[in-house]
Symmetry: none
Subunit: 129 residues, 2 copies
DNA sequence: CTTGATTGTACAATGTACAGGTACAAGGAA
DNA sequence: TTCCTTGTACCTGTACATTGTACAATCAAG
């Protein structure tokens, strides 16, 4: 059971293949997947996630294009050595802007500012570990 | 210059009309736009943002459906008085879940956890005032 | 009151993205 | 060699974002 922390959330407004890409990239960045590790074949992971294997193949190809994976027929999917990508220079501003928009959306939905602030701090705490 | 803080970012995986909605809602919630204010005609704003005026019209309609705007032909776009609706009972969980998704997305993009945590705390601070 | 310009709306056409179906190609194993 | 495993190619259907075009409403000028 190579990838236990991987599930597709159909309620999320994000395509399945992109959810797979993000989840895998997170494992790659965090070190849960290391160079030399082998990922399951497209059909196996697809069966596990209940999507079509072409969807998994698209995710694998996207990560291969980023340099994370080495795809070869019959030999499976290998994690390549690669250092974490550079954060874009304006990352901080973009994160801040997106957060402002999200907060506005929640406030417009009537969620009390105190509750929003509590969740923001909890999310920040969760990052420390 | 009616809306200086409004630009479409084509690198973002979010449709243009939704970027317009989010940016305008931010101004509405924050008070930068108040009841009685007038927004530019769809064609003017579209020219400014370099999109088709129907794209702007879609954004205006979405905000009108939320109760923020009053659209009438020839009379332009007026900001309506609007009180916040009741927060749904599971608001807290939904906020927490959305934040987890966003944090994962940012980490997967290579943004350092410390930077994300800093922005989360800053956003929480910004809510106190 | 008529005319014309302004402004939002309706709707079809087009392009694009995603997911799935099917057939194929490569290449290691028996 | 032969066969099975595994990734790839290509096509289709569907949904949706964006645009082009025509139209409807309504205000102002005369």
């Amino acid at each position: 059971m190579p990838l236990p922390h991987l599930r597709i959330d159909p309620t999320r407004h994000q395509p399945a293949y992109r959810q797979i890409v993000d989840a895998l990239r997170l494992m790659l960045v965090s070190g849960a997947l290391r160079a030399g590790d082998r990922l399951p074949p497209v059909r196996d992971l697809a069966l596990d996630l209940r999507v079509h294997f072409n969807t998994v193949a698209a995710a694998y190809r996207a990560l291969a294009a980023e340099g994370w994976l080495d795809l070869r027929r019959r030999r499976g999917v290998l994690v390549r050595p690669r250092k974490a990508p550079e954060a874009p220079p304006d990352a901080s501003e973009r994160v801040a802007r997106r957060l402002r928009e999200l907060v506005a959306e929640w406030r417009a939905a009537g969620i009390p500012p105190g509750m929003i602030a509590r969740e923001l701090r909890a999310a920040a705490e969760g990052l420390k570990r």
